[in-house]
Structure formats: structure tokens, C-alpha cells
């Protein structure tokens, strides 16, 4: 088996030293994309990483679920089926947890391989830079979606099992879920951009948390002042500045949910503007992200 092949004269000799070639099925690009997506999603929750990496996302998820569980328990024991739950305001009330989760987990997907240089190995594969960036983004998007959506599903299931009014709760739940999808997309886009550009975990976490909390604080402050002065337009423009007030405005105005900020869009035209800005942030952010990864591939 491992005999050297005798050549006709002086020159190279090929030895068969017993390595076996891969003879299994070749799964192709789609499968690579799927597994990259799945690993990214699991990694965002620390699964497949060290034990210490699981602590933060899991503890945050537990904190995120506790208020929902308590609300369901109160609802079931006291029979409060009407007007007790506001699905749409749940993400706004637990904003701090969501912000910490997004800020802490985006660098897991966007900083580490750029910083260590492993990115060039990924981009050398058939998947390509654009697809890689978009798949990474989808992993983060779904991770945030699960993080914010699951507590709201818990609330909804709890409300239904407490025999709440099906039609009313389903409508509000659906409106809130569309809002959550939009919120997850906006947050994933912004935090991915910060994480990819800073490349340092600590700095990325800090900048994301500061930017999200300060922008929401500015919206609250400006809306308080402008509505006291009777300046409705100013307050509505201010609402465009933070992802939370932006998405809250969309689901309150266009989907019939309940707004959690002092000033909501008020008219359908403003609601559409809020939606357009949210979509523009996602599309523009993704464009910048893809461009950034393409530049990395060119290096």
C-alpha cells in the first residue's frame, strides 16, 4: 500500500502514507450558511463557549423572564384578565436588560474574529464577505428577538391560560411582536456596527450601552420640555432619535398598540415616518456593515 511509486528517473516521488481523502457528502454553500447562522445564534447565548461566557446571557434572560412570570402568576391568582398586561411596554420597561444583552453579545459575533484575524479564514471560504456579514447579523437579530420575544410570549400564553379575552389579547400581542421584531433588527444593526468598528470588547460594550441609554434619556428629556412648551412637532421629531422610542411609536401608531413614551407619533403620517426611519436605519446600517466586511476581505 505505502510503497513509493518508482519514477522513471531522478525527480519527485509521491508517497501514499495512508491519509484518507474526504468521501462523504459535500454540503455546499447553503449548508455552510446554515451552520454559521446556528453557531452564531448559540454563541450569542454562550452555548458552545466557555462556562463563564454563559453566565451573563443566561442570567440576563432569567431576569428578563422573572417579571413576566410574576405578572402571569398575579394574573392567574387574582383573575385580573383585563388591562393588566401591556405587551408593547414590556421591552421599554426592561430596557436596561435589553441594552446590556445587546451590547455585551454583539462583540461576541462581530469583534472577536475581526480582532484575532480569523476573519480572513472565514472570508477565504466560498461564502464571501457580504453573506458572512448578513449571516452574522441574522444570528444577532434572532438572538435579540428570542431575548425580547420569549417573555412576551410567556405573558401571552399566561393571559390565555387565565382565560383572558382571546381577540383583544391576540391583537395587542401581535402588535407588540411586530414591534419586537423591528426593535431587534434596529438594535442588532446598531450594535453590530459599533462592535465591528471598535473591535475591542470593552469599548464596544461601553459605547453601545452609553449610546442607547443616552439617546433614550435625551428623548425623554426633550419630550418633557417640548410638551410642556406645547411644541408637538419638536417632541415627535425627538422621538426619532432613540431606537426604543422609534419602535414604540411605530407599534403604538400603526399597529394599534399602547405607547410607553410621553409623546407618540399621533397621526398616521408621523407613524409612517417613524417606520420609514426605522427601516432606513436597518437598511443603511446593513449596507455599511456589508461594505466594511468587503473591505476586510480585500486586505
Amino acid at each position: 500500500m505505502a510503497l513509493p511509486t518508482e519514477g522513471p528517473g531522478p525527480g519527485g516521488v509521491i508517497h501514499d502514507i495512508g491519509y484518507r481523502p474526504y468521501t462523504g457528502p459535500r454540503l455546499g454553500t447553503a449548508s455552510a450558511a446554515r451552520s454559521l447562522f446556528a453557531t452564531g445564534l448559540l454563541n450569542a447565548y454562550g452555548i458552545g463557549r466557555s462556562g463563564r461566557a454563559k453566565i451573563l446571557p443566561m442570567v440576563l434572560l432569567a431576569f428578563m423572564l422573572v417579571p413576566a412570570a410574576i405578572m402571569v402568576a398575579i394574573m392567574v391568582t387574582l383573575g385580573l384578565t383585563e388591562g393588566f398586561i401591556n405587551y408593547g411596554s414590556y421591552p421599554v420597561q426592561l430596557m436596561l436588560l435589553i441594552v446590556i444583552f445587546v451590547a455585551a453579545q454583539a462583540p461576541v459575533l462581530f469583534s472577536r474574529d475581526l480582532r484575532s484575524g480569523a476573519i480572513s479564514l472565514y472570508l477565504a471560504r466560498p461564502l464571501g464577505a457580504s453573506a458572512f456579514a448578513l449571516i452574522r447579523w441574522s444570528s444577532l437579530f434572532v438572538a435579540v428577538l428570542v431575548f425580547v420575544g420569549v417573555p412576551i410570549i410567556v405573558l401571552y400564553v399566561g393571559a390565555l391560560s387565565a382565560e383572558a379575552d382571546f381577540a383583544e389579547h391576540t391583537g395587542e400581542f401581535a402588535a407588540a411582536m411586530v414591534g419586537v421584531i423591528l426593535l431587534a433588527a434596529v438594535l442588532a444593526t446598531l450594535s453590530a456596527l459599533v462592535a465591528a468598528h471598535t473591535r475591542r470588547r470593552g469599548l464596544a460594550v461601553g459605547v453601545t450601552i452609553i449610546a442607547l441609554l443616552i439617546s433614550t434619556g435625551v428623548v425623554t428629556a426633550v419630550q418633557a420640555i417640548t410638551s410642556e412648551m406645547g411644541n408637538e412637532v419638536g417632541a415627535r421629531i425627538a422621538g426619532l432619535l432613540s431606537p426604543f422610542s422609534l419602535v414604540d411609536g411605530v407599534q403604538a401608531e400603526l399597529l394599534g398598540g399602547v405607547g410607553s413614551f410621553q409623546v407618540s407619533p399621533g397621526t398616521t403620517a408621523w407613524g409612517l415616518l417613524y417606520l420609514a426611519v426605522a427601516l432606513a436605519v436597518i437598511a443603511g446600517g446593513l449596507w455599511v456593515l456589508v461594505r466594511y466586511y468587503r473591505k476586510q476581505a480585500g486586505r
Binding site: 460594550v205 461601553g206 452609553i210 443616552i214
Partner: protein
């Protein structure tokens, strides 16, 4: 003290992408003050307290956090700190040189933006704006010292510092008024009140001397702790 270390720290602070985060916070505060002045047409009764104290102190604290984690953290992170520690320079002097840069940046960008936004909101009252600026400068020095210990102790100084600022200073100290004896922000506000009696910054009945002494103790203790930590520094690999 070592001028070269300070110069390098300043260079690294503004050589990284951190500088735009450092600059954007003061600019945002000043922009907010301008916006509020435009919206209220100069009749900003109470806006000074809301903007300068509510938003401004947090923004200046975050500047202190970004500056301090920027002068020491990255070097520990990528391991190049050993080249600095291998030099025959006292670790305390390394900490002090870096701390001085962080405090300088915090005073210029953090407290300075309070001065500018205070003057935008109440142009006639220079003393009030100066009092808040001085209080924030003292509090900023104490914060830098605390964050210096955070960056010397673990890799996650930014996250630890944010949790400290948001949870302890932001939530707990504003709910539980007894914590004013431990809250750096309350000391700074008390010092500002001590300079201008007309200010009421909700610092409670904290003794003025206590605020000064406590701030000084925190600055010194921070230097000593961070210096001790660096003199027992051990290299660790990636986790």
C-alpha cells in the same frame, strides 16, 4: 510622576477610535443645552438643574470612565503593559502619571462641557456654572481613581464601571438617600453647593468638609490600590 508615560497615555487615548466617543458626549450635552435654550426661548426655569445636573453629571462621569479605561485597560488587554512594567519606574508613579492624564481629560471635556452648557442655559450666572464645574472636577478626579482600580483589577473595567455608574450611582444612590455618604456624585454636588449657596442640587445635608475629605481619600486610596495591584501584576492569557 513620569512625563513620558503621561504623554504616551494621552497619545494612545486620542490615537484609538475611543476619541470620538470621548468627544461626542460633551458635544451632545452642549447640543442638548442649545436645543433646550432654543425650544424654551431663553425662559428655561429649572432647565439648568435638569440638564446640567441630571444629564450633565452622568455624561461627565461617562467621560471619566471612557478616559480612564482608555489609559490603562488596552495595555493590560493586549499584554504590552509588561514592557512598561519592566522599566525601573515605580508602579505608583506609572498609575499616577496615567491617572493625571485621565483626570485632565475628564476636567477639560467633562467638567468643561458642564461649564459651557451651564452658561448656554443661564448666561447671566457665571458663578453657578463655575460652581458646578468645580464640583464635577473634584468628583471626576475621584471617579477616575475608582475606575483606575477597576481597570487594574480586571479585564472588564468598562462593564464593571458602567454597572457601578448605572446601578449604584444611578439607581441605588438616588433612591436610598443614606447612600449619599458613599456616592461620589453627591460629594461633587455638595461641593458645588458649597461654592454657590443659591444652588440646590439635592445633595442632602452632607457636611461640606466630609465631601472634600472623602473625595481626597478616594483619589489617594485609588492610586495606592491600583499601584499595589500593578506591582503584583500577573500575566494571563486569553480566556
Amino acid at each position: 510622576m513620569n512625563a513620558t508615560i503621561s504623554r504616551l497615555a494621552l497619545q494612545s487615548l486620542f490615537g484609538q477610535k475611543r476619541w470620538w466617543a470621548l468627544l461626542s458626549l460633551p458635544l451632545l450635552l452642549i447640543g442638548l443645552a442649545l436645543l433646550v435654550r432654543l425650544l424654551t426661548r431663553g425662559e428655561a426655569g429649572g432647565a439648568f438643574e435638569v440638564i446640567v445636573v441630571g444629564v450633565g453629571i452622568t455624561a461627565a462621569t461617562l467621560v471619566a470612565l471612557l478616559a480612564t479605561t482608555g489609559v490603562l485597560g488596552p495595555e493590560i488587554d493586549d499584554g504590552s503593559i509588561i514592557y512598561l512594567l519592566a522599566k525601573p519606574i515605580s508602579r505608583y508613579s506609572v498609575v499616577l502619571s496615567k491617572l493625571l492624564v485621565a483626570v485632565g481629560v475628564t476636567v477639560v471635556l467633562g467638567a468643561g462641557s458642564l461649564l459651557v452648557s451651564g452658561l448656554i442655559l443661564e448666561p447671566s450666572d457665571l458663578q453657578q456654572a463655575l460652581a458646578v464645574t468645580a464640583g464635577m472636577a473634584v468628583a471626576g478626579a475621584a471617579y477616575c481613581s475608582i475606575f483606575m482600580v477597576f481597570s487594574a483589577v480586571n479585564r472588564h473595567a468598562m462593564v464593571t464601571g458602567l454597572i457601578y455608574v448605572l446601578v449604584f450611582e444611578g439607581l441605588l444612590a438616588s433612591w436610598l438617600s443614606g447612600l449619599r455618604y458613599l456616592s461620589v456624585s453627591a460629594w461633587g454636588r455638595r461641593i458645588a453647593e458649597g461654592i454657590d449657596d443659591s444652588l440646590n442640587l439635592a445633595a442632602g445635608n452632607l457636611p461640606l468638609a466630609y465631601a472634600w475629605v472623602a473625595s481626597a481619600v478616594v483619589v489617594v486610596a485609588g492610586c495606592v490600590l491600583a499601584g499595589r495591584r500593578l506591582s503584583r501584576f500577573q500575566l494571563r492569557g486569553e480566556e
